[in-house]
Amino acid sequence: MNFNRREFIRISGITAAGSLIVPAVFQSCKPQVRLTNDAESYLSHFEVTRQQLEKVISAAMEKGADYADLFFEHTLENYSSLEDNKVNSAFSNVGYGVGIRVLKGDQTGYAYSEAITPEAMLKAARTAANIADSQSKFSPVNITEFTRPDYYPVVSSWEDTSVQQKIPYIQRLNDNIFSADKKVTRVNAVLGDTSSYILFYNSEGLLAWDYRPMVIFGGTCIMEQKGRIENYFAGKSFRMGSEFLTNQIVDEIAREAVEKTSMLFEAGMPKAGEMEVVMGAGDSGILLHEAIGHAFEADFNRKNLSIFADKMGKKVAEDFVNIVDDGTLKGKRGAINFDDEGNPSEKTRIVSNGTLSSFLHDRISAKYYNVKPTGNGRRQDFRNIPIPRMRCTYMENGPHKKEEIIASVKNGVYVDNFSNGEVNIGQGDFTFFVKFGYLIENGKLTRPVKDFNIIGNGPQALADMSMVADDLVITNGMWTCGKNGQGAPNSMGIPTVKIKKLTVGGTNA
């Protein structure tokens, strides 16, 4: 168990995937009619009426709570996977139910039901209601319908896409990787898609609904050369429908897998110790996620646990450092139309011109700090309590050039490829595991290096960010962040930056 410690961000690689296998074709349990974007479709999908919602909310509020919400979810997942040149296994999962949350001050009562019937919902509501302990009569508020933005429009839904349509793309990924390099001895690939129907209602009368698609697609390439084996996983993820599937995306993933695996044979371990670290544009956004992002999540600050708890409004970085957490980027894995407590998504500026300007809030923390919610209250599914989570976290462009940054380093490492990271919120120590990078010697990239951990301290690293380039890249990696046992999809990005000093894992002479 980890406490106050965000375990990772991890590429949902295929290694983890005896379970992450395969197939697809599922319509839902009932023949599925694509839902239109209106409340009635979603109410009827979950077989509930407005009157029932009001009745359940009233039961949730009957012990004198301040607030309650209902989160209905119907999620369909399909995975198809390839081993030994064939798409030969598949996995599907259906999750269905309603989570009922009751708040009294900053206290939470939570229960869920996997059956959506009036009796089951009332039972769960009364269980959750026990967080409060008085009596009160709740009168339902007039229903307001949430106007949903469209940050992830779907052209063709995964539910209308059969496994037959998916197989050729997975096969192509395999074939492209094999044909690109004679050293390739194994390929494993997986294509996974998710379609989620969400219906939300709370004691303030807000009624919201959403259709959330997601796709992950990637492959592990294994090469052998002179008795040595190396592997590399390349993959992409978007909130998109099956229009995602193109030959171009397959070719991009294949190219990355082959090039990177091949380069690993040239790479070794760096020398251990403190040095300058240049983080290349793109996935180096993991630095923001681990070093800063988690410590800005307001639950940790409300509880005073974060090393940034007393730094609001204070200067934490150079003037050219601007960091945002944005849920509105179209089609990104971290995009969200509204968060899982009915708050609108937005672009939240967390560091503005070097000054800490906002934490990332859920409903409880926004109330505690008396600020507007930032739309970061997210949950893994209807079985879980929403908590502040990042969406797409990135740094805006700065004044420097990538070449000038690398040229400024006498002795350091350049890194842009990672598998996972973690942070200790209280002490501020954060890490990320480097899958691939280069040494920098006298201003030039030299020997490739791989498989080492970098550790630093959040506030120190932020202050030590001495150069930021103008080449921002927001990536489409398969990042999943873990917190309190809940996974959440994230995106990230950063321009090339230099940190004056981090501790690099490696060998000693």
């Binding site: 406490f3 290694t15 005896g18 296998i21 197939p23 074709v25 599922f26 009932k30 198809s80 081993e83 798409v87 030969n88 296994s89 598949a90 599907s92 999962n93 259906v94 999750g95 269905y96 206290q107 939470t108 009562g109 939570y110 869920y112 996997e114 959750a128 026990n130 967080i131 059969s162 496994v163 197989i167 592990t220 294994i222 084996i229 592997n231 371990m269 251990a272 110790g273 403190e274 509880k303 005073n304 646990l305 090393i307 079985r383 309590i385 209280g426 002490q427 120590d429 954060f430 595991f433 791989k450 498989d451 080492f452 951990n453 550790i455 301290n457 501790t503 894992g505 490696g506 000693n508």
Partner: protein
């Protein structure tokens, strides 16, 4: 659902899949109830009650394979779901290795009670649970003016499942689990150190319910104002609470899927030396009240006690049914149960006393390993040891190496494994380990 109802639901699912065209089917019906209580600074922070149930089903249709799960167990939903699943499976490629395990391998029943289920847990009321958490919180709360926050957690779960396979397996199991945890956060000069302590049990009456908050407080106090050391090679002790993390890459490398997919640094190493001769590890599924105890694994394969590492020599891998067929190896279960490691004579204090200048690792932060090569690198925190005593806390350092050579450097083991863990491994002392710091 009682056990009989679960069996009949599983059998109905199997019959329907066979009718829809599957050749072989296995199905599991599971149910789980759990409670989670979090208390912060003497106030309830959250109460959560969970009730979940579901079906998972493996389908073998003309040498084609897929697996599925759903929590919609209404009969008409389930039948439709299975019908669609069988249809979808037909689109996949054939795989000659896909079939249920040989019935010879199955658990046939008749084993002793493994004592993994406590009927009493179901009768414990919410107030008793809240009180348990409140009591351990109070062991720390207000006991030091530098305390920022104290949290405590109680959680329990009651699980039961049945598994049926169309070629002759039937089995059921039930488990209870509880844990009690305290976490303390304090204000230091350089940060807000935090640490925790927790106790786990399978039986309510066996749960340790004292000295949890006080241990969390003591651990946090000892971590105030850490410093980093100069990079170099050091003797390193890894505390029992986290030493299992270092065994994980070995476990991962021993699984059939890693071997087959060449993501294992232990391919072809059976009967060869992979660690110092001090280390032995036995997989023992049959110990009474072990957290990993079981009569059969998730494929129905009968659980057997077997050596994994004997005096440093690799004796067996973790081979499941599918990869066993692909690798031409006999399946012996693809997942670990309880792993019992050898122990030495010293307690942690005595291990520390044996080190002139080194590091005690009490926690890992992030890091990873390369399954194909065995290279690893993890962030660490702990203490600097000089002349057999702890000098000051350390943080912001990395431990780096290769699993193949690292385990040969194992120089001593403690006598202090934790009873409640399914991986019973003591504190470990390694010589000559690469640490990076200043």
């Amino acid at each position: 659902m009682n056990t009989t109802e679960k069996y009949s639901l599983a059998e109905m699912a199997i019959d329907h899949a066979l009718r829809c065209g599957a050749d072989q089917v296995s199905a599991t019906i599971y149910e789980n109830r759990s409670n989670d209580i979090e208390i912060r600074d003497q106030k309830i922070d959250s109460l959560k009650e969970s009730n979940r149930s579901g079906l998972s089903i493996n389908l073998y249709v003309n040498k084609k394979y897929s697996s599925h799960s759903t929590n919609r167990l209404k009969k008409e939903d389930l039948l439709k779901f299975i019908e669609e699943a069988v249809k979808a499976t037909k689109f996949l490629a054939e795989d000659e290795f896909r079939a249920l395990p040989d019935p010879e391998l199955y658990y046939k029943g008749g084993g002793p009670d493994l004592q993994t289920f406590d009927p009493k847990l179901d009768t414990i009321d919410a107030k008793t649970k809240i009180d348990l958490a409140m009591n351990v919180l109070n062991e720390a709360y207000g006991k030091d003016e530098r305390i920022i926050s104290v949290s405590s957690y109680y959680s329990d779960s009651i699980s039961s499942s049945v598994m049926v396979a169309s070629n002759g397996f039937r089995g059921d199991s039930s488990n209870t689990r509880l844990s009690l945890t305290a976490s303390v956060s304090m204000k230091g000069e350089t940060g807000r150190p935090n640490d925790y302590w927790n106790e786990n049990a399978l039986f309510f009456d066996r749960l340790v319910r004292k000295d949890i908050g006080s241990k969390a407080l003591e651990r946090t106090r000892s971590k105030m104002n850490p410093k980093k050391l100069i990079s170099g090679k050091y003797p390193v002790i890894v505390e029992n609470r986290v030493s299992a993390n270092l065994l994980y890459p070995i476990y991962q490398a021993l699984t059939g899927s890693s071997l087959y997919q060449k993501q294992s640094f232990l391919i072809g190493k059976q009967n060869q030396k992979i660690t110092s001769q001090l280390l032995s590890a036995v997989d023992d599924p049959l110990i009474p009240s072990g957290p990993g105890s079981r009569h059969f694994d998730d494929e129905g394969i009968a659980a057997v006690r077997r050596p994994i590492i004997e005096n440093g020599i690799l004796k067996s891998y973790y081979i499941d049914n599918y990869y066993g067929k692909k690798l031409g190896m006999k399946p012996n279960s693809g997942s670990s149960s309880n792993v019992i490691c050898s122990t030495g004579n010293k307690n942690l204090k005595e291990l520390i006393a044996s080190v002139k200048k080194g590091v005690l690792i009490t926690g890992f932060i992030g890091g990873n390993f390369n399954g194909s090569t065995g290279d690893f690198s993890y962030g660490i925190e702990g203490f600097y040891i000089e002349n057999g005593g702890l000098v000051h806390p350390v943080n912001e350092m990395n431990i780096t190496g290769n699993m193949n050579s690292f385990w040969l450097n194992l120089a001593d083991l403690g006598n202090d494994f934790r009873e409640g863990d399914s991986l019973r491994i003591p504190s470990l002392l390694f010589d000559n380990i690469d640490l990076s710091g200043k």
